[in-house]
């Protein structure tokens, strides 16, 4: 059964290829069957493999399948090979299953779009790339999936290509993530040059054998890989692409944010955890990136008016929690939060898609309201997802995973009180912006009438995800046990904060956010506007709204100078050297040809003059 592993990436690839070649000639229903069927098949295969892996785990705790040697030069022999352990298994199962629900939802959501088959071809390619990334046995194949995911995000964000804004957003996503990939590529050279392989398991072993804790090479490798991870996972300072990525169709956003792409960075760091354990400086950088990102994105989320942008910033913030977990050495907690996040974030996007479609593509939350009764399915599922995101204690999955991260932060030797408090403030912000969103969209007066209600293919997946967003947290115990077969266990040290204390404080932060949100956006709707009235508030609001001005900074510092210089240099300044030579030659030729007058006495005079000069030179020298 494990031998079928290669089918998990191969089936979606085949689906993408099939749709790319013959898709435009197929009817919509056939496209839907191929597109969704391929992901369903991949999900079933991964579930079967998972069942066998759990019931009779391989002796070494992992299974490797090599298809062929990809590139072979000397000792550089990366293969097209897959590696399955508890880590990649969990990721693959979650990714394929959530992707399947998103595909199913899309069959109705994209109904009637002229690019229907193109959409499903890209989506299948997206899933295939992500699964390749997860299962890759070496970093080069991982890089293939990594770049493939970036490509698909570009294609899907710019899917409605007739609007130039979408195309630009897609380009931004590709270019910004590729900037991170540049660092990652250099990291690969470094690892291969110093450790002689790119096979992840051999690499980790070699790093362990050859590098001392804190060695400069390990730190450099850790930071370079982190560079790639912050790009893909939209963390500081490369997070600017993600809010713009909302230009794509809503199921795309669900796929990018929940199941694929943004969690790739988390996976990469977890996968190469040995490097980070050898490089405390790099690991601390991971934690710092996480905490700063989760706080900054939380502030930004609070000021957005576009429902999808609120969710986008919430994603950045939640991935920040995962980075924080990785940074403090709570590897399993990061992956646990990845799983619950995949459920509730996919749910939130899909439910918001229902809202947006019901209101004639209205994105502005201030023109929504009172949808609680109009769209009950969207409301109840969104509420479940929102509670999971904000971390409603004891009931929701998000609580269990985030709580684990907070507790680990408090008790980690790398973490400590400051990071813990930062994480708790993050909880407060999360609760604030989540309930601001819920109250504005679903409570109050109806501002835009509902024109369209979802069918079962859109409602069904949302309800399944809502159930998972609630119950997904109850597997915490067995999940942690499973993770210890692939990742090192968490080393407890530090403050000695008990789980009860940590949970209680987090619960209080959650409740505080809920109450404040209720007070501001339900009881006193004018209050928020007043806060923005005086100049300090307005400035802060604009600062947060524009993502702390980072987009502006990059635009002025990098984009505009480069575009300007390239435009100025369109005619290639180097060519002017040769134009100069040509001009000089022409000038001499013109000057020389002036002497060709055809008048005999001039020629005679030149000959005489030349003879005199020549004789003079000969005699004098």
């Amino acid at each position: 059964m494990l031998g079928l592993l290669w089918l998990v990436p191969a089936i979606p690839f085949a689906g993408a290829l099939w749709l790319a070649v013959v898709g435009p000639r197929l009817r919509e229903r056939a496209v839907a069957v191929i597109g969704t069927g391929s992901i369903a098949a991949a999900t079933i295969v991964s579930l079967l493999i998972g069942a066998q892996f759990l019931s009779s785990p391989p002796a070494s705790g992992a299974y490797t399948q090599t298809l062929w040697t990809w590139v072979g030069v000397g000792t550089f022999q990366p293969g097209i090979a897959f590696y399955l352990d508890a880590l990649s298994l969990v990721m693959v199962v979650v990714v394929t299953f959530v992707s399947f629900l998103i595909h199913l939802y899309s069959t109705e959501f994209m109904h009637g779009d002229e690019g229907y088959s193109r959409f499903f071809a890209y989506m299948n390619l997206f899933v295939a790339s992500m699964v390749t990334l997860l299962l890759a046995d070496n970093l080069l194949l991982l890089y293939l999936g990594w770049e493939g995911v970036g490509l698909c995000s570009y294609l899907l964000i710019g899917f409605w290509y007739k609007d130039t804004v979408n195309g630009i957003a897609g380009q931004k996503a590709f270019i910004v993530t590729r900037a991170g990939d540049t660092a990652m590529a250099v990291g690969l050279y470094l690892l291969f040059h110093n450790l002689g392989t790119l096979r992840i398991q051999d690499l980790m072993q070699a790093a362990h054998d050859h590098w001392a804790v804190g060695s400069p090479l390990a730190v450099a490798a850790g930071l370079l890989l982190l560079g790639g991870a912050v790009g893909k996972s939209a963390q500081l300072p490369l997070q600017t692409w993600l809010p713009d990525a909302m230009a794509g169709p809503t199921p795309t956003s669900a796929l990018i944010h929940a199941a694929t792409m943004v969690t790739a960075g988390v996976y990469l760091i977890a996968r190469t955890h040995v490097v980070y354990e050898l490089a405390p400086a790099a690991q601390f950088a991971v934690a710092m990136v996480g905490i700063l990102t989760l706080l900054m994105a939380g502030c930004s989320a609070l000021t957005q008016w576009d429902i999808k942008r609120v969710l986008a910033y919430s994603t950045i913030s939640q991935i920040g929690y995962m980075f924080l977990a990785l940074g403090v050495g709570a590897w399993g907690a990061a992956i646990f939060h990845f799983m619950t996040h995949a459920f509730f974030k996919a749910l939130l996007f899909l439910a918001s898609g229902i809202v947006i479609e019901a209101l004639h593509h209205e994105h502005n939350i201030f023109r929504m309201g009172g949808l609680r009764k109009e769209l009950p399915v969207a409301f109840w599922t969104f509420l479940a997802g929102g509670c999971a995101l904000a971390g409603l204690p004891l009931i929701t999955a998000g609580f269990y995973s985030k709580d684990l991260i907070l507790w680990s932060t408090a008790n980690s030797p790398i973490g400590g009180a400051l990071l813990w408090v930062g994480g708790l403030i993050g909880v407060l912000f999360t609760s604030l912006y989540t309930f601001r969103l819920i109250f504005l969209v679903f409570f109050g007066d109806v501002k835009t009438p509902v024109s369209h209600r979802p069918g079962m293919t859109m409602g069904g997946p949302v309800m399944v995800l809502a159930a998972l967003a609630i119950i997904g947290g109850f597997v915490k115990g067995s999940f942690e046990t499973l993770m210890t077969t692939a990742l090192p266990p968490f080393h407890e040290a530090g403050l000695g904060v008990s789980e009860l204390v940590s949970s209680t404080v987090a619960g209080v932060a959650f409740a505080l956010g809920l109450v404040v949100a209720w007070y501001i956006w339900v009881l006193h709707p004018a209050l928020a506007d007043q806060a923005v009235e005086f100049s300090g508030g307005r400035l802060l609001h604009r600062f947060w709204f524009s993502d702390w001005g980072m987009d502006w900074l990059y635009d002025r510092l990098l984009v505009r100078p480069l575009v300007w210089a390239a435009t100025i240099n369109k005619n290639d300044v180097i060519d002017s050297i040769y134009d100069g030579i040509a001009a000089v030659t022409t000038t001499f030729y013109r000057a020389a040809s002036l002497t060709e007058t055809g008048k005999l006495r001039w020629h005679a005079a030149w000959i005489a003059g030349g003879t005199v000069v020549t004789l003079a030179i000969v005699m004098l020298l």
Partner: protein
């Protein structure tokens, strides 16, 4: 004998096509197609049947005395390197004939005579192992190419053709001087007059003389490659040439420069080349960055693609002078994949110009809705050009960068930034031409079946090279081993 046949088929096929065109233009096209196809299959057969070189340097050779008084021989030979490049030559040759099928309607016979003679010249360059013969073939490429640009080119064709001719001719003269110098130095050392490659290989020479001769060869090849500063003939020539001309220029003529470095500069003057390597590597990296930067600034579709060649061939130069097995293998894979991906982009640019009568991207936009198949193909090759893993170009560039890291971390990092730059121009191309609104209301036919076939073949080739490049790597392996064994090899 087979090797001579490869060249004769092209020379005779060209004349036949010319003669046949008086009766029917399509007969000329068919004759050209059959001639190049025949060469392709002969070479393919050679590759499949004799994949591994035996004890000697050559897989097969043919040798006749030509001007024995001064030691000139008509000596042709192939090893892994030339075999791969010959395959590329005839592969792209077939596609150039197909790409010209509709585009060329004037003087069809003379066009195919020129096209086939260029290919014959290129094949001669890859086959000749007598330096006199090599120089002869080198010049043989030049004249028909000049005609191709000057007669069937676009608006500024005469300017471009003259510029191309002056650059290559002048640099070729430097090589001729270097060849003669080597000829006399060898005579001085051994008392034998010979142009024979293998005999000249271990000529003892003073370091100063070696450096000058090496530079003579290097500059000739650097113009063709092109190395930055010497590259400015390229955008003009590529842009003004007809589609087949652009494909042959980008896909093959540039590769003769890289081939020359691998075949002559490194083995004939190992110490001088080794001393010069840091400069050459820096030039390669500068070319990668500057070429990509210039490409990003262009608004003419063909000019944009032309500048990408400067960037990609920078990787080849970097790879060659990095001089270890990873980088050398990468350079060769890049040469082959660049030939295919850039050739395909030129075919696409030609197809667009044939339909819209403009190359200006400002006049395009929204073509995806009009010509979806063509747009999809363009997207694919743009992605290959920006180095997407899974496609051939990635394998080559990654190997070069990985190898270069061992020599110079700084240059390798800078070149990796060049890969990021490639994203800028590739996405700009896709965005400007194919996405956005169809402002100018274009309504033109999509790819015809024969065009679709050409695209499909090239797509499959790039996927194959991207996912299973091993046949290419193993073919080139013995040559890499020889290069690494050189005294200065690293």
């Amino acid at each position: 004998m087979t090797l001579l046949l490869l060249i004769l088929i092209l020379l005779i096929g060209g004349v036949l096509a010319w003669a046949a065109a008086r009766r029917s233009a399509s007969a000329a096209r068919w004759i050209a197609l059959i001639a190049v196809l025949a060469d392709f299959f002969i070479t393919l057969n050679l590759w499949i049947s004799k994949p591994a070189a035996g004890a000697g340097r050559w897989i097969t050779e043919a040798d006749w005395a030509w001007i024995p008084q001064i030691g000139v021989r008509f000596h042709l030979a192939v090893d892994g390197l030339s075999l791969l490049l010959l395959l590329l030559t005839f592969f792209l040759g077939v596609l150039s004939v197909l790409a010209s099928w509709r585009e060329i309607t004037d003087a069809v016979g003379f066009f195919h005579l020129n096209l086939l003679w260029i290919l014959a010249g290129i094949a001669g360059v890859f086959l000749a192992v007598d330096l006199f013969l090599f120089y002869f073939a080198w010049e043989l490429m030049l004249v028909p190419m000049y005609f191709l640009i000057a007669i069937w080119g676009h608006e500024d064709r005469i300017y471009a053709a003259v510029k191309f001719f002056i650059f290559t001719q002048l640099s070729g003269l430097l090589m001729l001087i270097a060849i003669l110098a080597l000829f006399f130095v060898h005579h001085g050392a051994t008392g034998v007059y010979t142009f024979e490659y293998e005999e000249l290989l271990n000529t003892p020479m003073a370091p100063g003389a070696a450096m000058w001769m090496m530079l003579g060869f290097f500059i000739a090849f650097a113009v063709k490659l092109p190395v930055i500063v010497l590259h400015t003939w390229l955008p003009d020539a590529h842009t003004e040439a007809p589609t087949a001309g652009s494909v042959v220029l980008a896909g093959l003529l540039l590769k003769t420069g890289a081939y020359g470095m691998l075949r002559f500069v490194l083995p004939l003057f190992p110490d001088a080349a080794h001393a010069f390597a840091p400069v050459a590597m820096a030039l390669g990296v500068a070319g990668i960055l500057y070429g990509a930067f210039c490409a990003f600034g262009q608004t003419d579709l063909k000019r944009l693609v032309a500048y990408t060649s400067v960037s990609h061939l920078g990787f080849v130069l970097l790879g060659i002078f990095t001089w270890n097995s990873l980088a050398l293998q990468g350079a060769v894979v890049t040469m082959i994949c660049h030939g295919i991906s850039t050739g395909a982009l030129f075919i696409i640019a030609g197809a667009i110009q044939h339909r819209l009568h403009t190359r200006e991207m400002g006049q395009m936009g929204g073509l995806w809705a009009v010509v979806p198949r063509l747009s999809g193909a363009a997207l694919f090759f743009a992605l290959a050009s920006l180095g997407l893993p899974g496609l051939g170009d990635f394998v080559g560039e990654f190997l070069v960068l990985l190898g270069a890291y061992k020599q110079s971390i700084l240059l390798s990092v800078l070149a990796t930034v060049g890969v990021l730059f490639a994203t800028f121009y590739a996405l700009k191309l896709v965005q400007r031409a194919f996405q956005g609104q169809n402002t100018f209301n274009w309504s033109v036919p999509d790819l015809a079946p024969h065009e679709g076939l050409v695209m499909a073949v090239m797509i499959v080739a790039l996927l194959w090279l991207g996912l299973y490049p091993r046949p290419v790597l193993t073919t080139f392996e013995p040559v890499v081993a020889q290069l690494e064994q050189l005294p200065a090899g690293r």
